[in-house]
Amino acid sequence: MTKLFGIPVDTFLAVLLIALGVALGIVAVLALRHPVLVKLGVRNVGRRRGRTALIVVGLMLGTTIVATALTTGDTMSHTIRGGAVATLGQTDELVSAKGAEISLGTGLGSATGVEYFDEAVVERIDRALAGQGLVDGVTPAIIEQIAVQAPEQRQTEPRMTLFAADPARMEGFGVIEGTNGPATLTALDRSEAYLNEDAAEELGVRPGDRLLIYAGGPSLRVFVKDIVSYEGAGTADSALFLPLAEAQALMGRPNQVRHVLVSNRGDEWTGADLTDQVVAQLSPVLAPLGLEVDPSKSDAIEEADLSGAAFMAFFTTFGSFSIAAGILLIFLVFVMLAAERRGELGIARAIGTRRGHLVQTFTFEGVAYDLVAALVGALFGALVAFFMVFVMARAFDAAAGEEVNIEFAVTPRSLAIAYAMGVLLTLAVVAVSAWRVSTMTISAAIRNLPEPHVPRHRRRLALAGVGLTLGALMTFSGVSGDSATPAMVGTSLMIVSLVPVLRVLGVSERIAFTACGLTIAVILMLPWSWWEAVLGPLSMNFSTWIAAGLMIVIGAVWAIVFNADLLLGLAMSLLGRIRRLAPVLKMSMAYPLASRFRTGTTLAMFTLVVFTLVTGTASNGSFIHALENVEAFGGGFDVRASAGGGTPVRDIQGAVAESPELEAGDFPVAAAQSFLPIEAAQVGTGRPLEQYVVRGLDTAFLRHTTFGFAKIAEGYEGGSDVWEALASRPGLAVVDATVAPRRDSFGFAPPNDFRLSGFLLDEGPMEPVDVLVRDTQTGRDVTLTVIGILSESTPLEMAGMATSQKTLAEAFPGRAYPTIFYFDTAPGVDPAQAATELESAFLAHGMEAESIEEVMRDATSASVTFNRLIQGFMGLGLLVGVAALGVISARSVVERRQQIGVMRAIGFRRGMVEASFLLESSFIALTSIVVGTLLGLLLAWNIIEDTRRQPSWENLTLVVPWLNLAVIFVLVYAVAMVATIAPARKAAKVRPAEALRYE
């Protein structure tokens, strides 16, 4: 189920809409009762358009970030769905031998010995579905991987999809579009075939050109009849089309098929709605025949939605800091607005307006901004998502090695959520600000004097008591539930609550806030092992990072703001020696010091953004750097290859030695894996069998590989001990880390259905675990004992369970011939060239080969691009900072107008006035850059040090991308200056005579 902030999305939307309705309803009722207050409030909106625009920009940013995250999720969901539809076309279900199809998407592996079955099964299917009105097409088919060569063009495509169906049963499966109109399989002669555009481009052929098809047996010569366009099962990439009879002859399978395709009534999108009914009709008929109906389309759509949800969760999590900064900005905007209105609101109270009426007036004004800002923010967020998705496409292109067609999409639901959240958050802040304004002292407001200081010891102590109690409860809850987030938040809350207590006891403001702020920052930055030494084991996830990050920044900002005079005194003593600069510096630093709330809020916003950017950049960069190790990535091998499932290479060492195209000496090690989709369940847990895969590793692989382990079962010494055990004792296995349970969870991907239990990956020992493994096609099963969990840095291509080839071949005879190969090349041999030679030598087996280095580069390049995208997304928070500085600077020019006049009167030149405003913003920007960077690097260091304790990441080191960070620093500073330049210039243009009359 799709979740947002841990809550199912539909529930979240319903609650938001109800809350929005109630809130706006209350506002509407109040508006109807006091239309004059509405007039007073709303007319302010049009008073100063520039200021109104600035307020709208400030209010919309939180909504923008939420909308961007949600729209990105929608787009990825739609794109993956689109991909599924493009791959399957009108086909909604696939009937195959049991276990023939898997949906785990490991990307590298084909099973062997997949059963073909009698073509006559089609008639049974026809009868089962007759009169139900559920389907509009049923056709027997062969869909296989073949190798194709264009001899005249000297081009080879080692892996191409053969699509062959009954020409008389293609109705309901869409139209094959040829160059000059619809093309049919019926029109193909014995030695003719269609190619789709991808295949034609790969081979460089045109209609009339000759092709050689390799499918495990002797090659077949055909001519290209036409270049076609078709969306059908398996034809999304390069594909060749033949009539079924021709394919049966080619594959040596007379009257047999590999699949029956079923197209439901409706189009390629809506057909899947009838899948459940079709499956219910067909399953009883097919099960006795050893066949199963796979709901391919609906499964793919469900996967797409899960992936979209994962992206949505990912981006909303990473956007949390920016959203928090956005909320701070909203508060700042309305505090400034209240300050601006103070005089006139004071007069309003003087002439008889009640506090409640003031609250309403202010609220009506806020709602007017709010409704527009949230709408603009939601729409702008969709636009930003469009740009981000464009960048993501480039990342996925690199990883996939081909163009990925990203299709932008946004759902009304996502826009509604973003809009409702924006309106409600802003409305809450407006209400609080309005209440604060209404409590002003009338005479002070009218005379523009500061609010008289009224000690509120009792109220503060009461709040402190609540804070301490709540904090203690949260900490206790976290510790007893072994959860880090409530423990950290609770501890922080208790420390924050000590401030009023200390103040009541007579401790100065500076010491109270500094001590508590520094304490929070320091203890949350302590190595995680120290926390666990005191509180016991605590599990962490991204909410821990977010909560800790926010509190660290708040603590640090407190410490800075309450000691800024010392810091700035130092700056003055150094820079004040430059006489030209001295008066400008003095003025630029004095104002931030005097306005702690404004300075602290803006500092917090900028520091949050810099902090998250630096933490993310440094820690992700370190992880990517750790993966850029060809030796570790390749597990001791230099080239990886795969062959078609129908064309395994049973003895790769012998084949390499005998191949006239290869120098056997170039490949001192040739190892093989078989691959089988299975169902598996841990013995003794009662959990049902779930889809998974198992690999059979031959002895050459087991004795040469250097792939490491995240966890090794008791009784085994190390990685080489485990691999040797697999080689020498049957029935043992290892699994990839994704199925292992862990205490800390930092992943977003949908969890595997197959999971292990009884131990934790990231702590404690592990006993050997028995897993029942079943081949769904044959019904045979075997129990394997898992003695190791592969390292988390092991590439995806090793995903699944792995045992010895001997074990697998004995358990599932005929089903586990090698289709995956690993080669170590001799010194001096170029692996890329070696891969090309292997593809040529094993063309008949449809071998595709790549150097490990190339695969690693594609994977890390995609990670780097994606990492930059995340940075860009988190950097949206910079817009919040810009708006904050813009609001403060604009307001400052108005507030200080008379003082600017005095400055000009006593000799400040225009340039000096402008410089003092720019320097003020510089102080905030530079402080946030320095503090955010220090905190970010410290936290990244903590993350790296904590992660290094796990065996998967022993070699992880903190790699600081200084160039990347320098770009961030320059950008943050530039953004701060951009925000301030216009108000600074306006201040410089203030005419002294007019300003001095201004009150």
Binding site: Q898, I906, F908, A993, R997
Partner: protein
């Protein structure tokens, strides 16, 4: 900083047929209608008249805070209209002091920091500026309040700080716009007495815009204005005729 011209004139400040018009777009206000005025070195002159008669406008034009539309203003023999904005600004930093009605102290600087600010603008060293600022505060009797913020000072004390700031750079002239306008009578009397003392003891020239007759009576000469014109000038019946 710009070079300050050498004073070659008989009068410190001269206004010659000065006109000033404020154009709001809908209405034109003739704030000054051919004002002629001369202020000698060491004089203490009050400008008085009803609200809206152009007193503050005249002060702004004479001090260079505002420009004139016709006529000329000479300070120490140099025409203000011949100076660029930068030159006028620098001149104010070096040769003028200002005392305004609403104190106009920087609320974020303490007393000594406010007083030393013009010296920093004039590029004196921090050490020199601080020393002279403390001297100025001593002169106005506020040494013990040197490190207090404006919020922590009484109205009279704030105005003293403003006066200290006005004289810290040894100005040729001090412009004061309603210096006692926001003070109680006792504080107002103290301020006027202080200005008088500085005028007598140090020869400081003061031009004071005021409603308060008590203030005017402390000065050497009262210049009366009405509807943008000088109608009477103190003990002298008319302002001296100018060539």
């Amino acid at each position: 900083m710009s070079e300050i011209p050498t004073d070659t004139s008989e009068f410190l400040v001269e206004a010659r047929d000065v006109h000033k018009v404020y154009d709001t777009g809908k209405v034109k206000v003739h704030a000054l209608n051919g004002v002629n005025l001369a202020i000698g070195h060491g004089e203490m002159v009050a400008i008085m008249g009803p609200s809206g008669c152009g007193k503050t406008t005249l002060l702004n034009c004479l001090s260079g805070l505002d420009s004139v539309d016709e006529g000329d203003v000479l300070i120490e023999g140099t025409s203000l209209s011949s100076m660029s904005d930068k030159e006028r600004t620098d001149y104010r930093a070096l040769r003028m002091g200002f005392v305004f009605q609403f104190y106009n102290l920087m609320p974020v600087l303490n007393a000594v920091e406010n007083v030393e600010l013009p010296l920093l603008v004039a590029r004196r060293s921090q050490k020199q500026a601080r020393a002279r600022a403390l001297d100025a505060l001593d002169l106005v009797g506020l040494t013990e309040r040197a490190h207090h913020l404006p919020d922590e000072l009484s109205g009279g004390q704030r105005q003293r700080v403003t006066i200290a700031r006005a004289l810290v750079n040894d100005p040729a002239v001090v412009w004061a716009d309603e210096p006692t306008g926001d003070l109680d009578s006792e504080s107002a009397a103290e301020i006027v007495e202080l200005m008088r003392r500085l005028n007598v003891e140090r020869g400081l020239t003061f031009l004071i815009v005021t409603h308060d007759l008590a203030v005017g009576e402390q000065t050497d000469r009262i210049v009366h204005m009405l509807d943008g014109e000088v109608v009477q000038s103190g003990e002298r019946e008319l302002a001296p005729a100018l060539p």
